[in-house]
Symmetry: C2
Subunit: 319 residues, 2 copies
């Protein structure tokens, strides 16, 4: 990738992350466009206006009172908007990466088809040397896939699933323009309404106070008996015990899980060995490092010019 | 499904298939629209004008000199047009089933993403209890997926793969209208040109004299080193020994194989246990029985009215 930013200045950006070493992750991509600094490397904390963040500690921003931009390394900003030390006036921005959305979409489609076509059974038959043609799938259009969330990620997922012939219905918070081949349900009841119709339910909601714990026993009970869950949002969207109970009762017949309340998923967690679970290690998508840095620079430039940051989220909505 | 054919008469149709018992497969869907007859049940063979076929024996049509329609139970007609006893003037027809095309498309996408995202490795890590996030996929648009064939099946596959963000280039025999997001290459060199650019090559060509054995050592050598093959056409498209050699040299890094020269794939065939092969038992798609019968009736009605059969293929082209 070529960074086409001839006029870009060098911005000093502090990295604030509890779990990750963002310098190790992004340092090579950053030069010469931004200078990434660990908090302990900053000599004049009051001069720092920009931060690159992922799960900052509660007090991460306390030493940097003049932060104007807190940029997430990914699409999610939940750990930033909820950080108690985040300066009140700071802009929170996210990465908006079409490549990442397409990775997400491909991951969603793989999982939807994996369940719809019982590809896991085919793989087991292959391993056992069995030529078994007995399973006949339903036509995709007779299978309703519900998608929770219709931002950059949700839309990419919905479009890719629709292109494979499924009936797609999405739940979105805010009203929006129609999209061919995709039914949209808006408003506060949208999640319930979509779940009630979904043979396969794909979660790509942002994590906010109103979506935390949304995948719970109540929602699972609304779904058609034997429905499938594809959970690609945030671990905090789901009550894990409720999913286990729904799987064991057969209310949910199978689940693909990419995100968890605790990551890495602890050894011995029942999801690891549950026969109805397809488990992946938070790999539905990644933003590319070069693109994250490119967008970081873009947001720094906008802020320094007094313009709106292109990646800015609505802090009060939380996404 | 409701068959909305109030005026349909009852047609006598002989079933001609060496491997399958078509009465067992389709009998329940046929009544009251057609009467399916085994050859030995036909009392007046010269009165029979319609046949439902799948891999008829060489002499299958010999007893039925007045056959006007030979309808395949699926999209492929190769075993019918090449049958030496097929009456010269008979119309050969195929099923054109959008549901089937979507099943095909979903199967293609699952396999493309399975390789692109190394989902097999993720499944093995899951089974081993490993939380391994080390693999970073390329953005889909930087991965070129070549699709061989652009009929009903090829187009559905290409569109579904493109919707997941991949760069898609298709090889087609006849020129045609542009389709957004899909590059088309036409003409006699199209297959070579597409293969030469394909990181992942999906075969959904019809089987004809000019496509038989097309997936061979020569073609594999044209492909980028380490490319992936997704073979969903016909077993006779591929020289199986050539693929094994290409897999063992690393020229082809992995293959998804759904069709084989001999089906069921014989016990002990090296594909069963090759670590780079994803093997499925000719299950990329199925046409629904009710839809096949509906289209059979439609074609019988057209023929009996002296009109062109809607499912007719070009016998000389072979598809």
């Amino acid at each position: 990738m070529t960074l086409d930013m001839p006029g870009a200045g060098v911005f000093d950006v502090v990295v604030l992350s509890e779990p990750f070493d963002l310098i190790a992750l992004f340092g090579a991509s950053a030069a010469p466009f931004v200078r990434l600094l660990r908090p302990e490397e900053v000599t004049d904390p009051e001069a720092i206006r920009y931060a690159l963040c992922w799960c900052p500690s509660d007090e991460a921003f306390a030493a940097f009172p003049n932060i104007e931009l807190a940029m997430s390394i990914a699409a999610g900003v939940d750990s930033i908007v909820s950080c108690p030390s985040l300066p009140q006036g700071a802009t929170v921005a996210r990465v908006r990466d079409d490549d990442q959305a397409h990775l997400m979409a491909g991951f969603a489609v793989w999982n939807v088809i994996h369940h719809h076509r019982r590809m896991g059974d085919m793989q087991r038959n292959h391993a056992a040397g069995l030529w078994d043609r007995s399973f006949t799938p339903r036509p995709p259009r007779e299978t309703t896939v519900g998608v929770l969330g219709f931002g950059l990620m949700g839309r990419a997922c919905a479009e890719a699933i629709a292109a494979a012939g499924f009936t797609v219905v999405v739940a979105r918070h805010r009203d929006g323009a129609p999209v061919a081949g995709i039914e949209q349900v808006c408003g506060p009841e949208a999640v319930d309404q979509v779940a009630a119709r979904a043979d396969i339910l794909v979660n790509v909601l942002p994590l906010t106070e109103s979506t935390r714990d949304i995948l719970d026993a109540r929602l699972f009970a609304l779904m058609p008996k034997g429905a499938v869950l594809v959970q690609m949002g945030r671990g905090e969207h789901m009550i894990e015990e409720d999913l286990l109970a729904a799987l064991d009762s057969g209310q949910i017949s199978a689940a693909s899980l990419d995100v968890f309340r605790q990551e890495p998923l602890p050894e011995g967690h029942p999801f690891w060995t549950h026969p109805a679970v397809v488990l992946t290690p938070h790999k539905a998508s990644v933003s590319t490092r070069a693109e994250t840095i490119r967008q970081l620079v873009e947001n720094c430039e906008a802020i320094s010019a007094g313009a709106p940051a292109p990646g800015a989220v609505d802090r009060s909505a939380g996404y």
